[in-house]
């Protein structure tokens, strides 16, 4: 004879289903939370930020003439620049304490409201040691229209291998 349930009681199958769903949600929440560092300030250059410019957009912007054409500054290692860089780029180099004066001298002639794009691409985006200090320095110097070229992995993968224009040497 089949067991009869009282009205309003919950079957064991329903209970298992509910607990499974709750456990899955808790596991997901933990996985998500473990990826966040509450002590770390929000990264204003995180993927999706309006401060970033995509390669296609930069290529188009560099085709324009006049004041809308951005000044493009490279802030990565020299040996990478010599191998390949975006045509029309100015080499600045990594913004480190020992060469910050050199960087300031390089950007001093630029108008503060000039559109400026900086890029590096030495390392995966989240780990680039150059792009954020360079962005901070330009902001500190009063530049108001600075954008950063988004290269998720590196310049080789996300620019050269995609067939975007490249120059070599100085």
């Amino acid at each position: 004879m089949a067991a009869r349930m009282n009205p309003g009681s919950i079957s064991s199958r329903t209970l298992i289903l509910r607990w499974s769903i709750l456990a899955a949600m808790a596991a997901s929440a933990m996985a998500f939370a473990s990826g966040q560092n509450p002590a770390k300030p929000a990264d204003e250059l995180a993927p999706g930020s309006p401060l970033l410019i995509q390669p296609e957009e930069l290529v188009q912007a560099m085709k324009t003439r006049g004041p809308g054409r951005p000044v493009v500054l490279y802030v990565g290692p020299k040996s990478f620049y010599l191998q390949a860089h975006i045509p029309g780029t100015d080499f600045v180099g990594p913004v480190r304490p020992e060469n910050v004066e050199k960087v300031r001298a390089r950007i001093a002639p630029l108008a503060k409201d000039a559109p400026v794009v900086i890029y590096c691409g030495c390392c995966p985006w989240d780990h680039c040691p150059n792009i954020r200090p360079a962005f901070a320095e330009l902001k500190k110097e009063g530049f108001t229209r600075v954008r950063v070229l988004y290269l998720a992995n590196n310049f080789g993968t996300n620019w050269v291998e995609k067939g975007f224009p490249v120059a070599r040497g100085e």
């Binding site: 949600m25 473990s34 990826g35 040996s79 390392c123 995966p124 992995n153 080789g156």
Partner: protein
């Protein structure tokens, strides 16, 4: 109805969790199969020792372009050390090519991690010989046949590199 809502929320939560887990590490992994001949290079390591790639013929060689200032590169170094230790008797040789490191920082790093393979300060000639290196870390995998079997650009899942090494160590000799 309530059950459907709970189910939908659970699915959304799961999707969020999976997305977070996949993107948490920020790892990138690009592998390309080359099968070009590895370049023959005569280099000098940071201790002044000669590093001739010709002397590694018949071995499986990992050439890792890295820098002490590059966080994902530095994180990989203990794994290269472990790999060298584990497979050197079977014919593995790791070579590190340091890119634009301050010599003092490089030496300090080398000593701190007790690196057990040669590290060579890079120059353009070395990068060009490998077809250009435009991102760190970048690792080339060379077989006993002296062909480049793979290129890993960006921080890489090391188990993949180890699998490739093991496969090449055990590959039949022609």
């Amino acid at each position: 109805m309530a059950r459907k809502v709970i189910l939908l929320v659970a699915i959304a939560g799961l999707a969020l969790g999976v997305y977070a887990a996949m993107h948490r590490s920020g790892r990138n992994h690009v592998t390309a199969v080359f099968l070009h001949a590895a370049p023959e290079l005569s280099m000098t390591d940071l201790n002044g020792g000669a590093v001739q790639t010709s002397s590694y013929k018949g071995k499986v060689v990992l050439v890792n372009f890295w820098a002490a200032w590059c966080t994902p590169c530095a994180e990989e170094i203990p794994q290269f050390i472990a790999l060298e230790k584990k497979y050197q008797d079977q014919g593995l040789q790791v070579i590190g090519i340091s890119v634009e490191d301050d010599p003092r920082d490089l030496r300090a790093f080398y000593r701190k991690y007790q690196m057990n393979y040669p590290v060579v300060p890079s120059d353009l000639k070395i990068a060009d010989a490998f077809g250009g290196v435009l991102g760190l870390p970048t690792t080339f995998v060379i077989g006993r046949d002296n062909l480049i079997h793979g290129k890993h650009s960006g921080a890489t899942d090391f188990s993949v590199i180890e699998q490739e090494v093991v496969a090449l160590l055990h590959a039949p000799q022609s």
